[in-house]
Symmetry: C2
Subunit: 213 residues, 2 copies
DNA sequence: GTCTATATAGTGATAGAC
DNA sequence: GTCTATCACTATATAGAC
């Protein structure tokens, strides 16, 4: 089973990034040593420095992979499922799901990266592009849905997408600390509000009165 | 200007916690040494260890102060201002505001603490109580408002508060990376949606059609 | 004078760099 | 693998309050 040097190199790179994603999410960037990442990837620190120049470079490379992959993953469910409530629920589940295999969760790495981005412009820039990309794709999906369903969005697709993403992130943050306090059904209902839809649940409340404050 | 030992002790404690809040927010817990905190507080590591037992103990003490103070601060504006839109805007501003004096921002320390809570149950517990407290106070405020304004909430005050807090956090997270992409007006409008209110802006769109998907 | 909050000066361990 | 810096933490000393 001969492999070319390029293949070996690519695999080492992938292994290191994978190990970094797991460890950085579980313990945090600063709590993980370069050696620990290398060990988890079955490589040496020499390989890590050769590929990424250091721990910081590894974080940046991880962010690039994360940026390209996870936006697609997050929205895949949303774009494939037909029933709206299920689509909305799938989005929330994607954010709150804990990766069984590894102890990490998506949300942890997401906010670990965000925190570094808020402190370091070099990290902030690709991260901001990533969020803009997610919002754009979400806006497109919502716009298509509104047209198909004949339900006009309450505001521009972009603003709607920002609010939807906001609810998802903000509720996921609360959910992580106190799962019982944030019911999935309540999150879906809130998202429906943002899209200008009534609920079809059994406990439908009294009808909405359009009064201003 | 004689001071008692108790007064000196209390001031040292306060200085250390204050310095920790600033540095942990700006650089992150693991990127800050105990000595750096002590220096910033014009004290020594010895004092730090005497008071808090270590850096971790300092983080916990900071969390307790944070827990008790900031929930009140966040909601103070909300509970005092009369105009609803301004109240909602004040909440968002509180989360996105950058502390001028020190480089830190509230949101940074908030998520720094959250990240530690997601990894350490000892941190998670007081943090979860903090969020529950904020939600409870917010729910009370929303409930009072709904009654006064004669606008029934679209769901229970608790669920509404969770969603409102979610939008605030999620939009603040996006705002930090890309301020132009998250307009305050859009956030306020989204919050109004969650409360079951129309908008009173000049660019009022076509009326809401109550169609299901 | 006694007590104790705070300061000083270290210890061993481990980090990242090359 | 080695080197240097720095980490969290501690043992001991000093100084200020009663």
């Amino acid at each position: 089973m001969a492999r070319t040097q390029d293949q070996r190199r690519a695999e080492t790179r992938a292994r290191l990034i994978d190990a970094a994603a797991d460890l950085f999410a579980r313990k945090g960037f600063h709590a993980v040593s370069a050696e620990a990442v290398a060990d988890a990837a079955d490589r040496t620190t020499g390989a890590l420095y050769n590929h990424f120049g250091g721990k910081e470079g590894l974080l940046l490379a991880l962010l690039e992979v994360w940026k390209d992959q996870t936006a697609a993953e997050l929205l895949a469910g949303f774009e494939e499922i037909t029933e709206l409530d299920d689509r909305l629920a799938a989005l929330f589940q994607a954010l709150t799901r804990t990766d069984e295999d590894r102890g990490a969760s998506w949300l942890l790495l997401e906010l670990e990266l965000w925190l570094h981005g808020a402190r370091d412009p070099a990290i902030a820039e690709p991260l901001a592009r990533r969020y803009a990309d997610i919002r754009a794709r979400l806006a497109g999906g919502l716009s298509d849905w509104a047209e198909t369903a004949g339900v006009p969005l309450r505001r521009s697709p972009e603003r709607t997408a920002t609010a939807v993403l906001g609810v998802l992130i903000g509720c996921a943050v609360q959910h992580r600390l106190d799962p019982l306090a944030v019911e999935e059904r309540a999150v879906v209902e809130s998202l429906r509000d943002l899209l200008g839809l009534p609920w079809d649940g059994p406990d439908h409340p009294e009808p909405l009165e359009l009064l201003d404050s």
